[in-house]
């Protein structure tokens, strides 16, 4: 048994930032991570713009900001683009503390390339750096602070005593041992759950473990129907699947005027956003593309055609030279992949097939402004938590969220931990949690393998709980989920290696993914309207009369149960009417 003051699950943006704060408060943090710091998680994959109101960019950061902006305007934009269901207390903390958090990162040595103006923002608010750079800085600070990191440790469950969270259990992937960690407080910072879908911009390890373990322990979750898809990633070939290169050079901020076409060559975005067309917001692009696909008007690989043939060579050739993006190089290499040959063929008329990839979970564990979950002793930070972004996230706000909430969670968890002692864990409870973890390696593989079940989950998610949803498909998905759930307690591993066994890891991850899918499906079924990233083909209007609410997910005797609660409004009163 390991003992520490505060255990932080997740080593990247939110987790690392939280750990620094715990240490600063004079307590001993322990970071546990399924991967390795800076070598896993979503932060490192970020673009990355970090949003701060433009006035503070100028005045507090000394960069090229616009003083006409204000924290209030930034606050409003987040709620307008979030389609009014954001938790306004979380947004207040977000806009209020963003300048200090980014300033601090710059003081620690974070290099900034420029300031970007992302869609949906009234002013340029994206302080542009890279996820690698953010993690370089945070990992160095963690090392400097002598914070312990337990790498290759997969947290599997929270342990409670008298209703309070008093530690965690999990699997040491480097030995195959079941490990118990006693702590006065626990912070979850495990990111989203994008691996629930077959195409994703996020890493392999983003499997919703944090959301699932919080739910199993009885914490509430919120807005789980709200999942952001980034339109225009490659969908083929396999090695490029989910790569954001087409988005970056096209519909993304500072991209070229590319065209998206259906199989008849029609630029279908005219139906969804005639003014902005291919430069529309992420939600509209994804919804536009998938409606073409569903209507049988897509490309062979299940997306749409993406072309730049109409652009003069000079424009295309100058683009990577003048772009000034940390990942796109003048020779068309992007994050280690070389696209020069592809671009040359595209100039001559070749199109590529693109589609939406799962990019971000707006929903997650329910927290308040102090980053407290509904369970005493449990805190959350970053994408694993819901409420900040409402129904759609603005470009650049994910990186701000991890910094703001990382600090808040660390600070508040430390304050709480100072009032607590380590608690005895019930041996029977620990044994029950152990059986769930060691089960797959002890059982023989009789039914479907963990790999097969993961694919089944991803297919159900994509076909029935994807970008375009209907009540009928969602109900059918619940049947599929019930079938898959029956098989999970029997998953066995063919491979019996104790050290870093991928089949074993997936057996545990599949349990997280199915819980996540059930939460998303039930929430999406309940919300009988379309709002932000949640698009119901059988209810296409934004129904402000009936649906200015949040959907909460709870664990009632092991069942995923949904209910509606009123919005958390502080100063921004949403409109009341139904919008087409």
């Amino acid at each position: 048994m390991i003992k520490t003051d505060v255990v932080i699950i997740g080593s990247e943006g939110a987790g690392a930032r939280a750990a620094l704060e715990v240490k600063k408060a004079g307590l001993e943090p322990l970071i546990v991570t399924k991967g390795m710091i800076g070598r896993c998680g979503s932060t490192v994959t970020a673009g990355a713009d970090v949003d701060v109101d433009s006035k503070s960019i100028k005045e507090a950061l000394g960069l090229n900001g616009d003083i006409r902006d204000s924290k209030e305007t930034f606050f409003e934009d987040i709620i307008i683009e979030g389609k009014y269901i954001n938790n306004q207390k979380l947004v207040e903390a977000h806009v209020e503390e963003a300048p200090d958090r980014v300033k601090e990162m710059m003081d620690w040595g974070m290099k900034v390339t420029n300031v970007l103006h992302g869609p949906g923002h009234r002013y340029p608010r994206g302080v542009y750096t890279s996820g690698q750079e953010m993690m370089r800085v945070l990992a160095r600070e963690v090392k400097r602070a002598n914070i312990k990191i337990y790498e290759h440790f997969m947290a599997t469950d929270l342990v409670k005593k008298d209703g309070k969270v008093v530690g965690i259990v999990g699997l040491d992937l480097s030995t195959g041992e079941f490990v118990t960690i006693s702590a006065k407080a626990v912070i979850i910072a495990t990111g989203g759950g994008m691996m629930m879908y077959p195409v994703q911009t996020a890493p392999e390890d983003i499997t919703g473990d944090g959301q699932a373990m919080a739910w199993r322990a009885g914490a509430s979750l919120v807005d789980m129907e709200m999942i952001q898809f980034l339109a225009c990633t490659f969908i083929t070939p396999l090695a490029w699947k989910g790569l954001t290169f087409p988005f970056t050079i096209g519909p993304g901020v500072g991209g070229m005027e590319i065209w998206l076409m259906n199989k008849f060559g029609a630029r279908f975005m005219s139906k969804w956003d005639p003014e902005r067309m291919e430069h529309s917001t992420r939600d509209k692009l994804a919804i536009g593309i998938m409606n073409e696909v569903i209507d049988g008007l897509g490309s062979p690989a299940g997306g749409v055609y993406y072309s730049l043939k109409h652009l003069p060579d000079e424009i295309v050739d100058r683009y990577p030279i003048e772009r000034n993006d940390p990942y796109l190089k003048p020779d068309w290499s992007f994050k280690g992949f070389q696209f020069k040959e592809l671009i040359e063929s595209m100039k001559k008329g070749k199109s590529i097939e693109v589609g939406p990839a799962c990019h971000f979970f707006m929903g997650g564990i329910k927290i308040n402004k102090q980053c407290e979950t509904t369970l005493p002793g449990l805190y959350g930070a970053g994408e694993v938590c819901g409420g900040t972004h409402g129904g759609n996230r603005l470009s650049g706000n994910a990186c701000t969220q991890i910094l703001v909430q990382g600090k808040r969670a660390g600070e508040n968890a430390a304050a709480y931990a100072k009032t607590c002692c380590h608690e005895e864990m019930s041996p029977a409870e620990v044994e029950r949690l152990k059986q769930r973890v060691v089960g797959p390696i002890q059982r023989d593989c009789i039914g479907a393998s963990a790999f097969e079940l993961k694919k089944q989950i991803q297919n159900v998610a994509w076909q029935k709980v994807g970008v375009v949803r209907t009540g009928e498909n969602l109900i059918s998905a619940l049947d599929d989920i019930a079938e898959i759930k029956k098989q999970i307690p029997g998953i066995g591993c063919r491979a019996k290696n104790r050290i870093y066994n991928k089949e074993w890891i997936d057996a545990l991850q599949v349990e997280s993914l199915i819980t996540l899918l059930e939460m998303t499906t039930k929430s999406a079924l309940l919300r009988k309207e379309s709002r932000g990233a949640h698009f119901r083909r059988d209810a296409i209007k934004i129904d402000n009369e009936n649906w200015l609410k949040n959907i909460i997910i709870d664990n009632k005797h092991g069942e995923v149960v949904t209910s509606c609660v009123p919005l958390m409004i502080t100063s921004f009163i949403p409109p009341k009417e139904v919008v087409e």
Binding site: V44, A239, K335, F337
Partner: protein, 109 residues
């Protein structure tokens, strides 16, 4: 991109310190031609041929650097290296080796 289908042999370093006295190599045959990276091929092997193979995969898009292994002796990202010909795959870091192609990072507890 490779357009024609062809069979590629991957000779992979294997070692489980709890079982093996010394390292050995296994050779797997993978059909390419569908634009496989080395990482895609390793994943194919684990899912379809040999579930005991261990390797590290995270971002898949060339930024986390967690998947760097020796490909024909050169340290390369397995996600950003296309599989077009026969290859020998070995771990990057023998000193911190966990099993097969996976290693601990130097910062571990």
């Amino acid at each position: 991109m490779a357009n024609k289908k062809k069979i590629v042999k991957m000779k992979v370093f294997r070692f489980d310190p709890t079982v093996d006295k010394e390292p050995y190599y296994d050779t797997y045959e993978v059909e390419t031609g569908v634009g496989y990276s080395v990482m895609n091929a390793l994943q194919y092997v684990v899912e379809n041929i040999d579930p005991t193979l261990a390797f590290y995969a995270s971002c898949r898009i060339g930024v986390c650097m967690g998947c760097i292994i020796r490909i024909n002796g050169k340290p390369l990202r397995s996600c950003a290296t296309m599989l077009t010909e026969d290859v020998v795959l070995e771990p990057m870091d023998m000193k911190n080796l966990l099993r097969d192609l996976t290693a601990k990072s130097r910062q571990s507890l």
